[in-house]
Symmetry: C2
Subunit: 235 residues, 2 copies
DNA sequence: TAGTGGTCTAGACCACGCC
DNA sequence: GCGTGGTCTAGACCACTAG
């Protein structure tokens, strides 16, 4: 039950990265410096850094150090390519349904645990646009149990996952996804401003988190004609 | 340059799992048993097991042991896994073009390094069927430099990645992929036995490997109507 | 209670990047 | 040459699972 030492150091460093004490490109203190600072051995310092690496916060370079990097979406997360880097572009996100209590979905490819179904479901729907053109429709469902005050909350940088991490200390630790190519029906064609019958990428996803019995279920419809969906992984 | 101790133990165990010495559901020797068997310390034994866990071969249970588990489900191609190890159905693979020397592709979304372009390109094209229905068309390109004898070789269990691992000790260590929904043209519709205009999932992939300057470039077209493409990740 | 994995200490040697 | 991360040893205590 007790939190391991390495985890508190890991969280400490993570927090400093999120606060901007260490910015992207900066190097964290070396393992030996961490040993001194926290009065621990290298094994423990390494474990903390290893975890930060696994979570995609840092990159480790033999002979150089641990460098803070832009958080990669390599938790098997799929992301719209060029979405976050779309510097010149105007990225907008528009709520079609604000976060609120809704019914739990059924007919979903991933099983929702009974513990979750006992609690009310929070849902929201967003439309993502680049240069005012809609490219993705996104639905999220999750149990309200662990997120007091979420409904009234503004998302951190417009990001749901970032909000979970910074406001609730909940991290995504796993995912399973199903991908299908399909064609737009009248409803989707209208929302995404494409022809009926145009190809769409449908993603059904289940994200597990660091909180027991708290999972996120999502359904996305992506118009990949201009922005393909990307996925990268580095061991 | 030298292979770490833990890796040789990891590979030893991996090989025994692949050969069936340890079957799904079996428990590997405990950490202490590995210490004795290989004359190592627990740190090293743990590191080997941790790697096997990361690669999805085993599950670790506090107080019980390390259990061999089924590797990722679905057409887990997105999770770095080959196709043939992943599906429970009757999977057949048919070569449309046997491995041979071909021109390097261009117009590919991922850059091919100059070192690779200096060497001849090996290519093959396969049609993957589940229960006799074609579900996926697969093209692979890669440099011939590190794979002597590949062209005459039979694939291990019909799996390209398994062949690389077992016959050449080359492991996939990273990937980047681009996904698009598109519609079948006349050529694809004929090969995959679907209507012209039916939705298809196109995947362009770049796999990096444990060998420097050896990468695999692939293009897939998947009919996801019956078999969605899956992707799972567990920290 | 015995055996397992999870955490942690206090050392050591090595390979890599950089000056 | 020096500091970095990568590997490895030889211990220790703890928490979990099971008989």
């Amino acid at each position: 039950m007790k939190e391991p030492l390495y985890r508190s150091i890991q969280n400490d460093l993570k927090f400093q990265i999120q606060k901007g004490v260490y910015k992207i490109g900066d190097y964290l203190p070396s393992e030996n410096e961490l040993c001194v600072a926290y009065k621990i051995t290298r094994t423990t310092a390494r474990k903390a850094l290893d975890e930060l690496f696994k979570d995609g916060f840092i990159q480790r370079q033999h002979g150089k150090g641990s460098q803070v990097i832009e958080r990669r979406k390599s938790l098997g997360l799929l992301s719209l390519k060029g979405f976050s880097e779309a510097v010149g572009k105007k990225v907008e996100t528009q709520f079609l349904q604000e976060p609120g209590f809704r019914d739990w979905i059924n007919n979903f490819p991933f099983k929702i645990s009974e513990k979750e179904l006992e609690n009310p479901c929070i849902h929201f729907e967003r439309l993502r646009c680049v240069d005012s053109e809609p490219v993705m429709l996104e639905n999220n469902w999750f149990s309200s149990m662990h997120l007091p005050g979420f409904i009234e909350m503004e998302l951190v940088d417009g990001s749901f996952f970032k909000t979970l991490s910074q406001n609730y200390q909940i991290e995504i630790i796993g995912s399973e996804q199903e991908l299908r190519a399909m064609t737009a029906d009248s409803e989707l064609s209208e929302l995404l401003k494409i022809q009926i019958g145009a190809p769409l990428l449908q993603i059904n996803a289940h994200f597990s988190t660091s909180k027991k019995d708290f999972n996120i279920y999502a359904e996305l419809f992506c118009n990949t004609a201009k922005f393909p969906v990307g996925n990268s992984y580095m061991k």
